[in-house]
Homo-oligomer: 214 residues x 2
Amino acid sequence: MLVTDVNEALPGGSSLLRNEPVQARSSARLTGLLDAAAGIIDEIGFERLTTAMVAERAGASIGTVYRYFPDRIAVVEALAARSIARLLERLGAAIGEADSADWHSALDLAITAQVEMYRSEPGFRAIRFSETETADRSGDADARRSLSDQLTSHLVDIFSLERTADLEFAIEVATEMSTSLVARAFLHDPQGDSRFLDESRVVVAAYLKRIPSA
Amino acid sequence: MLVTDVNEALPGGSSLLRNEPVQARSSARLTGLLDAAAGIIDEIGFERLTTAMVAERAGASIGTVYRYFPDRIAVVEALAARSIARLLERLGAAIGEADSADWHSALDLAITAQVEMYRSEPGFRAIRFSETETADRSGDADARRSLSDQLTSHLVDIFSLERTADLEFAIEVATEMSTSLVARAFLHDPQGDSRFLDESRVVVAAYLKRIPSA
DNA sequence: GGTTACCGAGCGGAACTCGATCATGGGCGA
DNA sequence: TCGCCCATGATCGAGTTCCGCTCGGTAACC
């Protein structure tokens, strides 16, 4: 498996977590709580998710939920953060394998990584809304950015060689287009409508071809 | 003003509304409640919106809120439905004026219509999340579809002459790309980042040029 | 034994109900 | 044509239920 310890993707500095797990059982708990939340969100949507449900499904008490998360919304945000971290890790591994990867084909790998996440990761769809709550509680910004936001800066970071404003913008646009088309593919079809998936690859490739610094 | 009676965009068949307004004062109430909700959402986000706030700002009692809406979430969904209805109406009017409109330029008008909505309609941003709750409670599907979904079928309807599966798909893809890029433009910049707005037009035009039946 | 983790009764506040009360307007008799 | 009547629409708000969250006490770890 690609994912080893994604709990580290939720640093204590971020206000997403109240207490950093220290003992082993604790980080198992955290994982269990997030898994429970993911399942619930898949079934009834995050708006209807209650902290009591999370506790029960994870075999914990309400108090334990609040030992880890400052409030109900933070549970969803932490789940989103974990999912995005897993996506980026997957992407990093994929780029590592394809050793001759340029930033051009990296966007294609990013699409593949997303598709895998939609198919294998419960609650991944929820990520699309994670921007929802970004609004109010500022201060720790980083862990709370949207999927396409983080994916963009990840890609930009990897290929920082010839970084120009135009290039960054192009990646931003391409990322936005691909994430939305992939999301569209999974909106109605739980397996992912292949027409949209194929088209997202075509569209991104065509778009990048028109970019000067490509 | 373009909008005459958008309450008709919330048919009683949809479970978004509990009771259809009959008397005049009633639909004024409904409008007032939705306006109140829109203002609140703009100010503090829909997660923090309480039914009591909506009631107070609209000068109504809590009971009245629940006379119209089955629950808190439905208020937001109804607002989204109204906003989408207004968008489509705006779009229809714009296409009507530009009498030689082909489906090509209609997509461009659709972008303009969206931009106007973001700029003038309180709470329009909230629409982006309205898909959130679509998930579970099925049965009345129609009024609960996402922005790009409804925009797509609206455009498809208007230009039904040469309707083919490929053409519909192309419109679907183009709509998805443009709605997401426009949303991106307004994500951080309340005035709408012009780079994204310009690029969305360019991207859509370029995409359509590659479609056979264009 | 000190720190970490867990529990769950209980509190406050927000979501939602329900029966009583007021407003409206179409019908009908004068 | 007018004006009263009352069925129905619309409003209200105290009260109930449910949910988010706290906190003091107990168990597990190292």
